[in-house]
Amino acid sequence: MEERKIGVYVCNCGTNIAKMVDCDGVCEHAAQQPGVVLAKSYKYMCSNPGQEMIIEDIKEQGLDRVVVAACSPRMHEPTFRKALQTAGISPYFLEMANIREQCSWVHDGGEAATEKARALTLGAIRRVQYHQPLERRSVNMCPNVLVIGGGFVGMTAALELADGGSQVYLVERQRNLGGNVARVDLTAPYLDSARDMVTALITRTMEHPNIFVFLNSEVGSLEGYVGNFRAVVDTVWGDQATSNEYEVGNVVVATGYKEFDASRVTHYGYGKLPNVITSFEFEKMLRAGRVETKEGKTPNYAAIIHCVGSRNREFHTYCSRVCCMTALKYAHELKSAVPSCYVSDLYVDMHAFGKGHEDFYRRGSEAKTLFLMYAKGDHPVIRKAEPKDGCEMLIEVNEKLSREVIEIPADLVILMVGMEARDDSDAVARLVNISRDKDGWFIESHPKLDPVATTTDGIYIAGACAAPKDIPDSVAQARAAAARILARTIRGTIDIDAVFAEVDEDKCCGCRICNGLCPYSAIEFNEEKKRSNVISALCKACGACVAACPSSAITARHFTDEQIFAQIEGVLA
């Protein structure tokens, strides 16, 4: 093999890699390898100066292969491929060594992490020498979109897409559109009616000529890849079940959240004390226009307790983000429904981070809501009151600011239940092949830079299925996902890597073992020549035929035997 001129770049990723891995040590080791003409470490390889460094070196030093030891190739392979292309060499002359997700983030510092980083980098160095240029292949981008979930977010995304000209298949499991927002009365902090907003959305969605709404339906399966998915939608109406297949180019997952089950918290007596209710039960009262106790009495005292199921080790460590403002909204609505009612608000920290939220909090304080702060883990205790107390229940709270134990009366207690991932989020994740975090929320491609895309190309997530979110943030995500999809749809085609299998006719013995193995029927048999042949347009590059060929006549482009052998040698050297 001719001598390569390889450049190796080791990314510090700020301290993400450098804290655990001796990046300069990895560089020094790489620099000694045959074919390596330079090895550099840099703070952020993906930054503009980092990419410029590669481009300049390719041009000035005549590099013909590049190794970047950095994050996962799932993150920045496209970035660095583009840099190679800009510099005028094939983008496929790149190999990345994953020394962040699969090294520095999962190992303690010290020699072991550095040794592994050296090995992974060496694997990449050995492999990249065998890289060959590949053409990009252009495939059609189907303009249709599948939206899973007919709540506020799903409808918003569907409308944006439909307005942009896409055919949208909106699949909702329930009998009605609207999701959780349809269960809400007013919204914080501007006190707009959720019902008005949802009704307007539902009307537009149902009437839009480009949106097909599937109620009582679920997505049975999703196959294919970006631009060319096939979705099966199963619908059940009474005892009639139908199943239809649709072609879609992209998918928006907007499956939302479910509320925390308050009965899991035993100390507030939910389910035992009849007038301890959840926030959604209170919304129901508000929507019905009747704020009263189970006995039908007007409450003289109401208490709102924050962080039920959120921000504690026992249930969920995260903040559910919407409850603080919703609690203030309840204080406001209680006061308007029952002006004489004394409202207490028992909180841990008041999270008033959003636009208009702090003002809303101030107005709540001025409206004589009694705010009582309790410490995390030192939750208030509710007990049934005696007839002499003149109220239904008594709440004992160790007030943090005054450091006093205070007892407050309550006829109605509202538990601010948090959000949690839906029980079937695992099934949905598997259906569309995306990841979930430890709490069950779907994971974005990048938490800051790419919040609605996922690691599976063509699958987008929006709203509370990715983490607790309020309506404005969810709407922004719905529209962002729609915009991302429309931007790709406008082009009409999408370039994908031209990785496919190839048969070497001289080596093929015509045994036809591969013919039946291909899940895409991409291998045809030429009766005249008695040779098998891969139809590249149908091949998806899984490599099943390559591994099975007894004469090693089939090559998997970009995953050739020699490339993988070289990488094995490298990681073990």
Binding site: Q102, R430, C542, G543, I564, V571
Partner: protein, 144 residues
């Protein structure tokens, strides 16, 4: 220094490699013995990759693919599932302990599972000691 086994991991691009990345983004720590090589599908696993790895110094090989039924290519994992017993049988004939080559399913959301597998396999191999291939090669070298 105490003996630390070397493991080569072959992970499918769609589920398991993403799962291993998830272990990273979730900062789930595990034993550093596994060096991961990405393949598009575990159906691409040519048995020679395993033999090559064992020959070149690996004490164990961990092959991970999508759970049965979840393969990005519909059925690549089933192909590997069928090759695997034959491979194991052959390796057994060479006196290679079956714990040294494992086929496991790791989905894109199973970062914890991957981490546990990696640590578990490292521990198992520590107990087993160096691969007989390495021992034989070392003896061979010494005799020369």
């Amino acid at each position: 220094m105490s003996y630390e086994p070397k493991i080569v991991g072959f992970l499918c691009n769609w589920c398991s490699y993403t799962g291993a990345d998830l272990a990273g983004t979730s900062r789930i720590h595990y034993a550093p013995n596994v060096r991961i090589i990405r393949v598009m599908c575990c159906g691409r696993m040519d048995p020679t990759f395993v033999i090559k790895a064992l020959h070149d110094g690996a004490d164990g090989v961990l092959i991970c693919g999508c759970h049965p039924g979840d393969c990005h290519y519909s059925e690549g994992n089933y192909k590997m599932m069928r090759r695997y017993p034959l491979l194991k049988k052959m390796l057994a004939d060479y006196g290679i302990d079956e714990a040294r080559v494992r086929l496991e399913w790791v989905s894109a959301s199973e970062g914890q599972r991957f981490a546990d597998l990696a640590s578990d396999m490292a521990q198992r191999l520590r107990e087993l000691g160096p691969s007989p291939v390495q021992v034989a090669q070392a003896t061979d070298m010494a005799e020369r």
